[in-house]
Symmetry: C2
Subunit: 347 residues, 2 copies
């Protein structure tokens, strides 16, 4: 009898990162052009003359990543492109091409697919990327969207997750937590609607949070601004799973510790107040809520000076030696260890 | 009221190709590096110095593309890579990297995922490609695998679908129809098993056909042989949907006609006999059955001479002027128009 068939381990016991680590451990890179494989925001492929091709891919599944009862298909299409472009931005590079594959059940009409691709087109225009390929098929149930994105960069301009140095300034773009608040509001209104379909959704006052959830932006503007300031982050990652989780990735891969200060974490005032109203701790929601698609990066002090006045970049902490651990310094002056809550799609 | 919501068109009414054409018509290429988008086996991206990056992507959905009741996960993993590598081969180029994304329901265990990736690894080794990235997520139901593949080539070595010239020799590699026979045998045995689970499957005599269905090969060997013979096909495509459908793609995109001769279409003898036993016309099954992943290409007469003795390449016909149409010449000397049956995943 085959021993392998005797053992059955639920994926939830090792989680998404455990699964990825297990897969990655089986594979090694053999082609000389494969410079970097699994483990950063994008893979890096040498194309000669000091240039590299970046490639990243994301898969979005209905009921797991999106709920079509409150996510219009056009927004979903836009978001699918934006989150992939964001992965290339997180390498300090510009995306140029995408491929989009969809598997969809028979409940989707031609008009529904049109709407999805309208959103994809809008994002392609916003981020100056070309749709160059894809695949379409039916599925037994639901909608799955798989996007791959390509970008070209100079090899020496890339920012990896593993380059943070002790003493570097930790920076974050935009503000955090709004996309998570948007999700909570949409889920709440859906529940109200399910209980009483006569009720109109109450979304007034949450426009910003909902927009952040439904139509996130990839921060390509920051990549341009960094290039103009001639600044190359020593490390970078995009915030898809929450600041806490992403900072831990950088610290682990760079073999450093970090301290971030609560008072410097950028949270929109209305978003902050809404978290309080919802009986949620704003700082906890802001650093653990995912899907902001802002950039988290580290700069050496000299480079930080060059962009410290950027209205959309906040210095939030310092890279420390590894043994110092990874902490949040609260407004009251208490130190809390940062733990990854993140998103576990298998929990 | 939104007019768009009033119209609902089933995707089956326009089919997979209709859907792809509708999507493609919305998008144009804007980045100078995007040389070719949707419409060939792979997209072509200029990376300078006369070199191009090729990218292609395929999505495989459970119950649509594969049936895990007779498709072992290891074979599925192998096949997912092979069919993508085949798309790069069909451009006359070599694949170098792949990304693999999976969405899977909670019925899949860690051991099942391991088995899938064992097959992926085996294919990566066989085709000398590196797994450089991917994504994993849960799904509401079933398994979806999305693979993207990258390859580098010299720009002037590529074979497109639109380059066939009147007078070119039409060639095909290997033999045709076996993968389709393998599918039919597996489906038959599954039905027998469903009717009476005590029955043992009768697969003896069908080993070749079943292997062709479960573990197809991408013909990278042919790409090497063509390069060694210094031959560049004037057009090329891989046979995923059946010879008839693929030949029509080449003819349509090259704006030519064609005639292929029944007696030259390569069919394995055992496969031929099995089709007869199954009351199926062998030639019809061979040119319409999909998933052989052989290469269909055209050569000018001088180049054809250089490889006419290749044991695994058959000259099967001639490219004709467009107005001549696309025909099969039967052994009895009758001409039959070739029509695309192919695979319509939305029918």
């Amino acid at each position: 009898m085959d021993k392998k068939q005797l053992k059955t381990t639920q994926i939830s016991t090792i989680g998404e990162f455990g699964l990825i680590n297990q897969i990655a451990s089986k594979f090694s890179l053999k082609n000389p052009s494969s410079l970097l494989g699994i483990g950063d925001d994008a893979a890096v492929i040498d194309i000669g003359n000091g240039k590299v091709q970046l490639v990243s891919t994301d898969i979005l599944a209905e009921h797991i990543h999106f709920d079509l009862s409150f996510m219009p298909l056009m927004h979903l299409g836009y978001k699918a492109i934006a989150v992939n472009v964001s992965d290339i931005a997180a390498m300090n590079a510009l995306a140029q091409q995408v491929t989009v594959s969809i598997a969809l059940s028979s409940r989707f009409t031609v008009e529904a697919v049109d709407e999805l691709y309208e959103g994809i087109k809008l994002a392609c225009e916003d981020y100056k990327v070309d749709l160059v390929g894809g695949d379409t098929t039916s599925s037994a149930s639901g909608l799955v969207i798989s996007v791959s994105v390509l970008g070209i960069a100079n090899k020496d301009q890339l920012s990896y997750r593993n380059g943070a140095q002790v003493g570097d300034i930790i920076c974050v773009t935009g503000d955090l937590g709004a996309a998570y608040l948007g999700l909570k509001v949409l889920q709440r209104e859906k529940e109200v609607f399910m209980g009483n379909p006569e009720m109109q959704p109450e979304l007034t006052g949450f426009e910003y949070a909902i927009r952040r959830q439904l139509k996130p932006s990839a921060r390509m503007d920051i990549i341009h601004d960094l290039a103009e300031s001639k600044v190359i982050p020593t490390s970078m990652i995009d915030i898809s799973d929450g600041l806490a989780s992403e900072l831990l990735h950088i610290c682990k891969q760079s073999q450093v510790g970090a301290i971030i200060t609560e008072e410097n974490i950028p949270i929109d005032t209305d978003v902050y107040n809404s978290f309080v109203e919802f009986n949620m701790q704003p700082i906890t929601a802001a650093i653990n809520g995912g899907e902001d698609y802002e950039l988290l990066f580290t700069l050496n002090a000299k480079d930080y000076e060059k962009i410290s006045k950027h209205p959309d970049v906040a210095g939030i902490g310092l890279i420390k030696p590894k043994d110092d651990g990874v902490f949040l310094l609260s407004k009251q002056g208490n130190k809390y260890p940062i733990q990854a809550q993140g998103w576990n799609h298998f929990s």
